[in-house]
Symmetry: C2
Subunit: 285 residues, 2 copies
């Protein structure tokens, strides 16, 4: 009964917070971008792109100058990409074998951003209606991190039978976070815990800049979701501590939202210097 | 009774996590750097400095090259610095007046790092044995952010009657996070919530690089604490969501720990490329 009470309190608080945030009654406002059956290919979802500029203290008034990135994404499906391990225990056992053979495992994941109504959303893969994943995986010992994450992104998203080398290209941005696995256990931390000299895995999250146009083919056993930042924030219960921290990792960036025609439709600027009221607010159309 | 049950569960979980992390039984392993009475000036605390390098994807194997920062800090006390507002409500009312006069409030706070036993710690101020604060405060409309944070750091830490202009200098690093206050309420978010076009406050957290030597004079009504990252992590219940997120904000950095003599005594490197086992681990002496 205690447990039920706790969950109830937690749900109530969460519902209030969400409503306060977005004024929408929908409880899980994620958007399914791609359906998992061949009859229904949702290729109409043309999502708007974003432009992110790492916050630069020298230019506090307007730091959104960056390369023009616009999007009009096409989503399709391809053959299933089976999971390597049937269970968490099997995965940890394989990590142990890997460690004995090649040392600490290196994992790289990509944070791909789109937006809707001017609010950033993170592209995520869902397996079995339960687990959420960022695109990416562990990389091989002979690979650099950038080689590794590019090959993993293509494994996830490259259309079947693709012959266009441009479709295999990805612009990998900066590292946003490092997570450490101190033992052969599920816990990871955003720092190396004291007394740990032999971490078993280091996972890095990279910002991936989407190009103006891209076709993303999703393996049949995955769903592609666009999860808004306000849905991830403070929601470790549903998404786990790593994904719930993504809003924190992105908070230093200012975004410029671009529509399908390449027009900037909204912009978030951080604390401009001007006293003119019109400059003191982000432009949200 | 439900509430008590919740707290009990929460405490148990937390205790287990802490023990798992640091193998220490101490429940709140914060270190008090400065005592609040004139008879006991704890000036013996010579803390070790750190060197942080923003993670750079081009040089994954060793990215700790940076300016030499070493520390030997002296802590003293000075006259009390009274709070401007007697209560949270008074503070929010004053924010409202400020907004009507000067638009969105801009606040800047500094993240100052030291280390002990090779683990980074964040310098924090505590008021009335209850509230934790980072050094910093709102800045005036005519100030740039850097001017503002430097004057606030001096307000907090400059020794009384100081005549050395070097003691007034601070090296302000990059912006680590932006927090938005959508309404005249206590909630802040690490993103601008949808439909909010007139935020009331934007708070930025800046990394502040401590010099090799510095005298920090703490106002009598504050305590200076060094809080380890593992203590802040996942501890919004005690430190609030903003400070609990600091480990996430710092996770992309690699640290180099320097002792009082300037020797590098430990180093955390993120996922090096080498297959040699000795290079696959951080050097922790």
């Amino acid at each position: 009964m205690y447990v039920i009470a706790c969950i109830y309190i937690s749900l109530c608080e969460r519902y209030e917070r969400l409503v306060a945030l977005n004024q929408r009654p929908s409880y899980f406002p994620r958007k399914l971008l791609q359906q998992n059956n061949d009859h229904h290919k949702d290729t109409s979802a043309a999502f708007r792109a974003y432009r992110a500029a790492s916050f630069c203290r020298e230019t506090t008034s307007d730091n959104t100058a960056c390369t023009d990135q616009r999007a009009n994404y096409t989503f399709g499906t391809k053959e299933a990409l089976p999971e390597e391990d049937p269970s968490v225990i099997a995965r940890l056992n394989r990590l142990q074998e890997h460690y004995q053979r090649s040392g600490m495992r290196r994992t790289c994941e990509g944070i791909l951003l789109v937006h809707e109504h001017g609010h950033p959303e993170v592209l995520m893969l869902q397996i079995a209606n339960a687990f959420f994943k960022l695109p990416g995986d562990y990389i091989y010992p002979e690979q650099t991190e950038i080689e590794g994450i590019v090959s993993r992104l293509n494994e996830r998203f490259e259309p079947l039978g693709n012959t266009d080398p441009k479709e295999r290209e990805w612009v990998i941005g900066e590292c946003l976070a490092q997570w450490w696995r101190p033992n052969f256990e599920t816990f990871m931390y955003p720092f190396l815990p004291p007394h740990i000299t032999r971490p078993k895995e280091c996972k890095k999250m990279y910002l991936v800049h989407l190009p103006q146009h891209k076709t993303l083919s999703i393996p049949k056993n995955f769903k592609l979701l666009a999860v808004p930042l306000y849905e991830l924030y403070d929601n470790a219960a549903r998404y786990g501590p790593q994904f719930a921290a993504i809003p924190h990792l992105l908070s230093r960036f200012n975004f410029e939202m671009v529509d399908e025609q390449g027009n900037v439709i909204s912009r978030s600027v951080g604390a401009p210097q001007a006293l003119d009221g019109s400059d003191l607010i982000p432009m949200v159309v």
